[in-house]
């Protein structure tokens, strides 16, 4: 019935597995995690964030407050998914995320990438799909948090640059959209251009999901065996200043190639 032996179907026999590894238990915890995310997201967007906005404060203070609330909510969600056994994750080097003017870039194999990055990066802004501004549950959150829509490109670059120049930390996925795992990355040049315009430092985060899960190629109920493990690893800082010479279009192409090569080298090493 299933094409692959790395996904889990309803059991034909009851093996001696830990309780939380049983198919229906995992289906339940996975389903609950999705529900928590959905319900939590709507609560955040329709109740919590509007309430936070009602508390007086400057624009920047409000934004900071909203971002902190999102981080706490995402941290809680990740904790639930992890401890209930729906997923597992590891995150090395997270303490180097969240510095002023830091541009964090990451590959984008799964739905949880942005959730994990925001959960572990204090005060981060991020570039988010413009569709979020048309989603009634999300629009208040993305506006209140001062996130940057990914289109149109010129506005994205302008806002992302302003945010970094103001000393905030920004998360971008140069691939633009979730990708099929184990394919070479293709980076759009927007992140490289933003980096050269304003980032004090560029920090790559390498994300691996084994076995592939919550990617575009696998339906959610086809549970991977073993459970999906999200391994995030913060790479060495890249100094964009080394690429800031010559005409900007040439420089951003060179920098983009350097970033893509960094990811290709990481993939080859694994």
């Amino acid at each position: 019935m299933l094409k692959s032996n790395t996904t889990m179907a309803p059991p034909v026999r009851t093996a001696a597995r830990p309780f939380r590894d049983l198919y229906y238990v995992r289906l339940a915890t996975t389903g609950l995690s999705f529900m928590l995310f959905g319900v939590g997201g709507v609560l955040l967007g329709v109740v919590v964030v509007p309430l936070l906005l009602a508390v007086p404060g400057s624009g920047a203070a409000r934004r900071t407050r909203v971002r902190r609330m999102i981080r706490i909510a995402f941290r809680f969600f990740i904790g639930f998914a992890h401890h209930s056994g729906a997923i597992s994750y590891s995150f090395s080097g997270a303490e180097r995320l969240g510095r002023p003017g830091q541009l964090i870039i990451a590959n984008h194999p799964s739905l949880l990438d942005i959730v994990l990055l925001i959960a572990f990066t204090p005060g981060a802004g991020c570039v988010v799909k413009r569709a979020a501004w048309r989603n009634p549950a999300m629009v208040i959150v993305v506006i209140a948090a001062g996130y940057v829509p990914n289109a149109p490109t010129d506005l994205m670059i302008e806002r992302a640059t302003a945010l970094l120049a103001a000393g905030e930390c920004l998360i971008m996925f140069p691939e633009g959209t979730r990708t099929v795992p184990h394919r070479p990355v293709h980076f759009h040049r927007g992140a490289a251009s933003v980096a050269l315009r304003a980032a004090s430092v560029v920090t790559p985060v390498f994300i691996r999901v084994e076995p592939p899960s919550l990617s575009k190629s696998v339906p959610w109920y086809r549970l991977p065996v073993p459970r999906a493990h999200f391994a995030l690893h913060v790479g060495r800082d890249i100094d964009p200043a080394a690429f800031r010479h010559g005409p900007p279009p040439i420089a951003s192409r060179a920098f983009n190639e350097h970033l893509a090569a960094t990811y290709a080298a990481e993939a080859a090493a694994n």
């Binding site: 149109p152 490109t153 759009h188 251009s193 005409p247 900007p248 279009p249 040439i250």
Partner: protein
Amino acid sequence: MHDRDAILAELRATLIELFELDAGRITLDARLYEELEIDSIDAIDLMDRLRRQTGRKIASERFRSVRTVSDLVDTIHQLVNET
């Protein structure tokens, strides 16, 4: 730079410098995206440069309707002759 010939000359020099294009490719009817391979990110770098050269900001809505070198010359021409 107020007449179209002067604008074209200066634009040609800018395109050569920014994108390392061969001068021969920059004809009036050359399409920026398809023929000169100037993508949306390049266009922003080009806008930044033109703003510094002309002292005026080209609205991005205006630039989105630009297809060819000739369109761009027209747009700059209108811009610098606006009061």
